[in-house]
Amino acid sequence: MDMSNYEDDKTIQDEAELWRRINPDWIVPDEKPPGLRVSSAAFNDSRDGTPLSVLLAEIVRHTGRTAQDIIAPFPGFSLASITAGVARAQRQGIARTPTTKEPAHASVIGPKTKAIRQALAKAATWVVAPSQAA
């Protein structure tokens, strides 16, 4: 995907929820409560340079779907959320990049240093927590 023409979309409010599916291997122990956290590995771009894929929660809901619908095709997965404001605070932009199959698809654009990935992971909250995942 050529992202060179994409910029931060200001129509996406800072409060907008960005959802990210979380593979069970990306959930790691943390001695701090609640005892589990998302690994920084969950918030990196793809190997081919495609920016971090997320779903705009507002669009998901607008299309009549729930959080459980998003992870239902992926048994054992959880669903985490960061806000657009959190991403922007880490020098990321958010672009709407809908696909024919996924109208809620968006991309988090910007260099993802390890420190930035860890900051995004630390800021993530659960929409569907590991204990709630199928």
């Binding site: 593979n23 001695e31 690994s39 590995a41 771009d45 495609t50 894929s53 997965f77 390890k114 420190a115």
Partner: protein, 137 residues
């Protein structure tokens, strides 16, 4: 002896007598990563490269003190992996960028200090970070 298969071969690990407590679960976790299928992350990730798993085993054997807490062994979307710990007031991550290049991020939650560094031949930043992780509380 532990044996793990992947599409183009297998990895056989011979453990020493009386291995440190972190070793067997870490080796087993690395072996499990080799069984992940393509698209394991739902975002198109490739399989974990066995060369990364081997490099990780060697690095752990060569650098982890015996009293190292068991790491989390986490696959990355690029086909690599990382070790990470969030314990003893330390957040430490060792990411394999290639079998011979590491990126280390260490945050001491008590002092608030953090640093990150790419590591290849000189492992001192890594051994320093492990020393912080295994220091007496």
């Amino acid at each position: 002896m532990l044996k793990y298969c992947f599409p183009r071969g297998e990895v056989i690990v011979t453990l020493p007598d009386n291995p440190p407590s972190w070793m067997v679960p870490t080796v087993e976790a690395l072996g499990e990563l080799l069984a992940l299928p393509p698209n394991w992350d739902a975002y198109g990730a490739p399989r974990v490269d066995p060369a990364f798993a081997l490099a990780a085993m060697r690095l752990a054997w060569e650098t982890f003190p015996d009293n190292t807490p068991q790491p989390s062994v986490v696959p990355t979307s690029s086909g690599g992996l990382q070790f990470e710990w969030h314990t003893r007031n330390i957040d430490l991550e060792i990411e394999f960028l290639s079998p011979s290049r590491l990126h280390v991020l260490c945050e001491d939650l008590r002092s608030g200090q953090s640093w990150e560094s790419e590591v290849n031949r000189d492992l001192k930043p890594l051994t320093d970070a492990l020393a912080v992780l295994t220091r007496p509380l």
